[in-house]
């Protein structure tokens, strides 16, 4: 379990998150949603040990995060930051293999290369293996970087907007893979998404963050109400349900609202 107790985060003097208590369970896909600038990325960075909390603690496996054991702490994480600007003359395969940085020898072993290819194949993008990174589209880069994170074989997955550049097919491919592997491998997965419908479709638990505070935590069907979404995002919405019973959010244009 990854446990946050009374966590407070600041950027400079600006408070971002206040007194956050959360418990994230293994084998569950948690999706973090909230308006822009509410500290979602900062929260992920704090969990990875990149931002020092002003107060509170982060615990996992009986250990509390501290500066002293940062390298060991980070080894448990597969962390995918947002930025996908990679104008690099490295092949896709060579980028993915860096996911095994901790154990790479000076000569890449066949095992390293095959593991990287396996990750690419699992995401249906093995055909990109020989392409230089600079020649890929933003979406392709995002898939490649997800494959790199998979290769770290983590206990905890932190993905910051991993589908922001993906088309529908690849969004689904990535989320399906993440969902399956979270269950199968017992990962604690925490994903930041802006697409509320995708969040509703895949999240076991939704975490709603706004104004520096936890607004709601629980299964999407319980958390996603028109009142909450309208209040957070300041847009009128309707909530429908798809054939699996997952909530489906539709924004309403002003002219369709009753006068």
């Amino acid at each position: 379990m990854l446990e946050l107790q009374q966590l407070s985060l600041h950027i400079g003097q600006q408070p971002l998150v206040r007194n956050l208590d959360l418990q994230l369970q293994p084998g569950q896909l948690h999706v973090l949603i909230g308006p822009n600038g509410t500290g979602k990325t900062s929260l992920l960075r704090a969990l990875f040990g990149e931002l020092t909390p002003q107060a509170g603690s982060i615990r996992h496996g009986g250990e509390t995060l501290s500066r002293l054991q940062l390298a060991r702490w980070r080894r448990r994480f597969g962390y995918m930051p947002q930025n996908i600007q990679l104008e690099l003359d490295l092949s896709v395969l060579e980028v993915v293999v860096l996911g095994r940085l901790d154990s790479l020898g000076m000569r890449l072993s066949d095992d390293d290369i095959l593991a990287a290819l396996g990750a690419l194949q699992a995401l249906g993008i093995a055909q990109l293996a020989d392409r230089p990174m600079y020649s890929l589209s933003g979406g392709q880069r995002q898939m490649v970087l997800f494959a790199q994170v998979l290769l770290r074989d983590p206990q905890i997955m932190l993905l910051d907007e991993p589908v922001s550049a993906l088309d529908l097919q690849h969004q689904m491919q990535l989320m399906e893979h993440l969902h399956r592997q979270t269950r199968a491998k017992g990962w604690i997965s925490l994903v930041v998404l802006h697409d509320l419908n995708l969040a509703a479709q895949y999240a076991d638990q939704l975490i709603v963050l706004a104004g520096g505070e936890l607004q709601a935590f629980g299964p999407p069907a319980e958390v996603l109400t028109p009142e909450l979404i309208s209040r957070l995002y300041r847009v009128p919405v309707d909530i429908l349900h798809d054939r699996d019973g997952s909530p489906f959010i539709r924004t309403l244009r002003p002219e369709s609202l009753p006068a």
Partner: protein, 350 residues
């Protein structure tokens, strides 16, 4: 279901990519061998190539004059060209990696300007009571390391970005250039001439001792940098991503900056300012083999070594009997070649 055939095909192609990079390294080693030989064979005394070869292979069989020219004068200078070229090429490559900027080099960070100021200060102050042979390199080295220490301090601060370090470096470049101009303004014409000559950069001051020091420092720094080859490759993905892969970016930045400064300061102290190689050699290496630092580290060093060695040959060959300052030759020959290369690269990517 994994397609085994496709996987093994991709594995074979990766191995082929690595072999191609090894071939580049080998080609550069061979070219350097040829250039070294030409460098030793070229000079105002017009020794036949055969005599030079005989002397190199069996120094005891050569007459004392030939032996002195080849073994005591030309060979250390030719080897110094390789060592300094390697130090500048590798230093440039890692500065670019470190700061994630293709325009960065120890020169754009003001390290060379600081060394120039240090050398000039040693000349103007009469060598601080030491022999000029010691005082000038020492002054250059100390000032260069002081400039590096300032950048080091900046890099220590977690929130300072690469751009800030580059800007601070450029500011230092201007500061030391101005201080150097001030020294020249205040000096006698004779001293000013000496300063200008030092700034031109020359391998002619090389002795076996200075060669041994430069080679030792460069080799040590190169080995230490090579040990971080994978981490430096990760750094090319950006600092945030390198951290996400488990790299301690601040520590890597400090260590690399220290090694680059040490290597560059040592090289510049003994030969003066030889620009351009630190900028161009890494670009050529990168164009040939990409960003995999396991290969980029040795190839940028080999590329720098080859460039300076060829420049050394040319500096003696442009006008028979005359010696052009090598720093000038490097830029005049290198700039058109470099522009041709980057235009070609642009076409390839487009």
């Amino acid at each position: 279901m994994l397609d085994t055939m496709a996987l093994h095909g991709a594995l074979a192609r990766q191995r082929a990519r690595e072999q191609r990079r090894w071939r580049y390294l080998l080609i550069f080693v061979l070219l350097i061998g040829v250039s070294l030989l030409l460098d030793v064979a070229t000079g105002p005394s017009l020794l036949p190539l055969r005599d030079v070869l005989t002397t190199l292979l069996a120094p005891g069989h050569a007459d004392s004059m030939t032996q002195a020219i080849v073994m005591d004068m030309r060979l250390p200078i030719a080897l110094m060209a390789l060592v300094v070229g390697a130090a500048l090429g590798l230093g440039g490559a890692q500065t670019q990696t470190l700061l994630d900027n293709p325009l960065a080099s120890p020169f754009t960070l003001g390290l060379a300007a600081a060394a120039g100021f240090g050398a000039a200060l040693a000349l103007v102050s009469g060598g601080f009571g030491l022999s000029p042979l010691i005082a000038i390199p020492l002054g250059a080295f100390v000032c260069c390391m002081l400039a590096a220490a300032l950048l080091f301090g900046l890099a220590l601060l977690q929130h300072v970005s690469s751009q800030t370090i580059i800007l601070a470096g450029i500011a230092m470049l201007f500061l030391f250039q101005s201080l150097l101009s001030l020294l020249q303004f205040l000096s006698s014409p004779d001293l000013t001439t000496q300063i200008v000559f030092w700034l031109f950069g020359s391998l002619m001051r090389t002795t076996w001792d200075t060669l041994a020091i430069t080679a030792g420092v460069t080799a040590l720094c190169a080995v230490l940098l090579y040990r971080d080859a994978w981490k430096l490759t990760c750094l090319r993905l950006g600092e945030a991503r390198a951290r996400s892969l488990g790299v301690d970016v601040t520590r890597l930045r400090l260590k690399t900056l220290l090694l680059v400064a040490l290597m560059t300061a040592t090289a510049i102290s003994f030969v003066g300012i030889i620009g351009f190689i630190g900028l161009v050699a890494p670009h050529i290496a990168r164009m040939l083999i990409g960003e995999d630092q396991r290969f980029l580290i040795p190839l940028s060093a080999l590329c720098g070594a080859l460039m300076l060695s060829v420049s050394s040959v040319l500096s003696k060959s442009i006008l028979p009997g005359a010696l052009f300052p090598i720093g000038i030759v490097t830029a005049i020959i290198g700039v058109p070649f470099f522009i041709w290369l980057i235009l070609g690269k642009g076409r390839k990517r487009a």
